[in-house]
């Protein structure tokens, strides 16, 4: 029965290598999916043209013969930005979801529960209605307003929760309440909206999707998500410790209230930065972390990167399936994510012996 110190260290290092291997496998799956996604679509360009276009655009010094302008448009302005946006959005949403689930010690936490999604929806709806001109759709008014209202929701949740001592329950309850408030306001706006166009545009926005992706959006989104995810990974030990309860966290030298506040800001900023551009994409931030937990356990040093990769994979796969299955008709990504993600999640839930949450 006695296991020596040396054995234990070996065991632990083996476990660590296994985790890194899992992350690497998901990464490979992600790259494969991205290549498949890049080479398939309703229009004719396939992998060959796709690679030519990318080389042509990224390495101009190679002096490749310019591909057809159709191939450039399809690969460079449609498919590639959409794939990149799916990766960024999936990774950011899932990493944020994993982090907040850990910090709040609750497996059901998502951007919906914290009121962020509804706030973004309300911000966008308000901008669409007040934007007078329907052209507001393409402008950054909607994006900016959605983002600002996300942050506003977070501030409200924070203020309410602070009165109740910043406990995890108070944050979740305040989030749910604020979420309901903003949902009601969205309905109200739709109900009293003077023009039917605006109502349609709101419905469209709330459904979310990736086909609005452009390189400009990606340039705004990517740094935000990258920095925030890195900061989340740096917080990994704090989150680990907080999973054992607030008292234990304090006794282990972690200022739990401060960590909670920092992560609320991080999570909201990432989620807001993404859904302001894509519209509300739900579910990924709830489920991707749990699938990652099943693969890799709950050590957040590995879980956050793994969740990010899993979220990116899920969203990209769902969007690709949605693009291809009824070509050239598309199925909105939110529908596909749930249709594919839920059975997969239930399968893992039933099959896997390892418990990933209590």
């Amino acid at each position: 029965m006695t296991t020596t110190t040396a054995d234990l260290k070996k065991l632990y290092n083996k476990d660590r290598k296994k985790k890194i291997l899992v992350i690497f496998s998901i990464f490979l799956a992600l790259i494969t999916t991205a290549l498949i996604s890049l080479s398939l679509g309703a229009a004719s360009p396939r992998i060959g043209e796709a690679i030519t276009v990318i080389f042509y655009k990224w390495f101009p010094f190679l002096h490749i013969d310019p591909p057809s302008s159709l191939a450039i448009t399809i690969i460079w302005t449609i498919r590639l930005p959409r794939i990149v946006m799916a990766l960024i959005a999936g990774a950011g949403l899932a990493a944020a979801g994993a982090t907040m689930q850990g910090i709040l010690r609750n497996p059901l936490v998502s951007s919906y529960v914290l009121g962020i999604s509804s706030a973004a929806g309300f911000g966008a709806a308000l901008a669409i209605v007040l934007g007078v001109s329907v052209a507001a759709l393409s402008g950054y008014l909607v994006v900016g307003n959605a983002f600002i209202f996300c942050l506003l929701a977070m501030v409200i949740v924070y203020m309410i929760a602070r009165v109740r001592g910043m406990s995890s329950e108070s944050v979740i309850l305040a989030g749910v309440a604020v979420g309901f408030l903003f949902s009601a306001l969205i309905s109200l706006i739709q109900y009293i909206s003077p023009t039917s166009n605006a109502v349609q545009a709101i419905v469209f926005w709330l459904m979310g999707g990736l086909h609005t992706a452009t390189w400009q959006n990606i340039l705004l989104c990517f740094p935000l998500v990258a920095v925030a995810v890195i900061l989340m990974v740096l917080q990994a030990w704090n989150i680990n410790v907080m999973s054992m309860g607030e008292e234990v966290a304090v006794s282990l030298g972690v200022n739990s209230k401060r960590v909670l506040a920092i992560n609320m800001v991080l999570e909201t900023t990432v989620t807001a930065g993404i859904i302001a551009f894509t519209g509300i994409i739900g579910f990924v931030d709830l489920i991707a972390p749990h699938i990652a937990r099943m693969f890799i356990g709950n050590d957040y040093r590995y879980l956050i990167p793994c969740s990010a990769l899993m979220g990116a994979f899920m969203l990209l796969a769902a969007d690709t399936v949605g693009r291809l299955i009824m070509m050239p008709t598309e199925i909105p990504v939110g529908i596909v994510t749930s249709l594919l993600g839920v059975p997969f999640f239930i399968y893992l839930l039933v099959r896997k012996r390892r418990r990933s949450f209590n």
Binding site: A42, A43, S196, M327, P328, E330
Partner: protein, 395 residues
């Protein structure tokens, strides 16, 4: 505290029971009366259902005479419901935009006593009491209080089963008008003559109006409208008939507020175009942007829903589509052939205006002499007696 909760719940429950029971009794004995008055005592002068093919020649007696003889009439409405209406009809609730315009063209503006917020044409209708934002959820109480002889609505109202039943129970006949224009099936496989003989929206609306005459009379006004509109209809058909198939051009229809959501509208053929989404199975699918780019449509037509008919909305929509990154290399955008049409110009009495716009936009060479906006004003002048500021198509 706990000891109190159970009795309180019991009291609340019993009060609720009492209230609902008495409401039930009330409905059984009191609200039953008007409906029993109507349904059994019909058929004094039961008219058969007017068919779509009623020609203008077989006209019933003059409307004045019909209105003076009180009688009941039983008809089948656009949703297939049998409706019994007491004549003459003096108070009309018209809850759908297209229906309001049809009735106004028929000279019945003064009989309309209720509308919805979405009904804004003709402008004189704005002084009529509104009973809700649209006919899916009208305010039932307000409607009953206005005591109309008949409610004209689109197929939205029966979807709201509760309200529909409440209104029926209140003894108000509801006539559902299906304003959705039937479309030619598989026009790409039709011969020129088959396509020529397929009904257009304007044929459809003329028939719709003829159905109304059994209830509200005014056959003369219907004839007047048909006499004005049919020549334009024929003009477009004749010129499209002369078009050779290789002159048909590709069109991408889009719902402006929902990018890449299209319509598999086959009537594009009747205006000399080919809908790039014609082979899709869903009626309003979301298209892959790359498919649109590869199809390279020559014309893009954007549908918008404009209740204000403000030209700035149309201009903004056009600029928005022209500036869309993805569409930069397609012919429609390169040649600036992006057009914006209001939904209401495709339905009802104004569908002739929409038809002319489509024809002019898709085949500009054939219709250089036609100015749809002028035809629209001509319509306003002739049937509403005034010009109306407001855009239905742009440019």
């Amino acid at each position: 505290m706990k000891k109190l909760t159970m009795p309180i719940i019991a009291i609340i429950l019993s009060v609720a029971l009492l209230v609902s029971a008495s409401a039930g009794v009330y409905m059984l004995y009191f609200s039953d009366k008007p409906s029993s008055e109507i349904s059994p005592k019909i058929d004094t002068t039961a008219t058969s259902v007017p068919t779509l093919s009623t020609s203008t020649a077989t006209v019933s007696p003059t409307p004045e005479v019909v209105q003076e003889v009180p009688a009941n009439i039983t008809v089948v409405d656009g949703a297939g419901y049998t409706v019994t209406i007491s004549l003459p009809v003096k108070r009309i609730a018209a809850l759908d935009t297209a229906v309001v315009e049809i009735l106004c063209v028929m000279g019945l503006r003064d009989l309309i006593i209720a509308r919805c917020d979405s009904c804004t044409m003709p402008p004189s209708i704005l002084s009529v009491t509104s009973v809700g934002s649209n006919d899916y959820e009208p305010n039932v109480e307000a409607l009953i209080e206005l005591n109309p002889d008949i409610i004209f609505c689109s197929s939205m109202l029966p979807y709201n089963e509760a309200s529909y039943q409440q209104l029926i129970n209140a003894g108000i006949p509801i006539y559902v008008v299906d304003t959705t224009t039937p479309e030619p099936v598989n026009p790409s496989k039709m011969t020129k003559d088959e396509l020529y003989n397929s009904p257009t929206p304007i044929d459809f609306v003329c028939n719709l109006m003829r159905n109304f005459t059994a209830i509200v009379g005014h056959q003369d006004k219907v004839n007047e409208y048909a006499t004005w509109a049919q020549p334009y209809n024929k003009l477009v058909k004749d010129r499209i008939y002369a078009l050779s198939p290789d002159q048909q051009i590709t069109v991408f229809l889009e719902w402006y507020s929902y990018p890449y959501r299209t319509f598999v509208t086959q009537s594009v053929y009747q205006a000399g175009g080919i809908n790039i989404a014609e082979n899709q199975t869903l009626y309003s699918p979301l298209l892959s942007p790359e498919f649109v780019v590869e199809q390279n449509p020559s014309v893009i037509i954007e549908y918008i829903l404009s209740t204000t008919h403000d030209i700035n909305d149309f201009i903004a929509a056009k600029n928005d589509v022209l500036s869309r990154n993805v569409l930069q290399n397609i012919d429609a955008v390169k040649n600036g052939r992006v057009y914006i049409i209001d939904w209401s110009a495709r339905d009802g009495v104004r569908s002739i205006v929409g038809y002319l716009y489509w024809a002019k936009w898709i085949q500009p060479n054939l219709f250089a002499d036609i100015d749809p906006a002028a035809v629209n004003q001509e319509f306003n002048q002739k049937f509403y007696g005034t010009t109306i500021d407001g855009t239905f198509g742009y440019p």
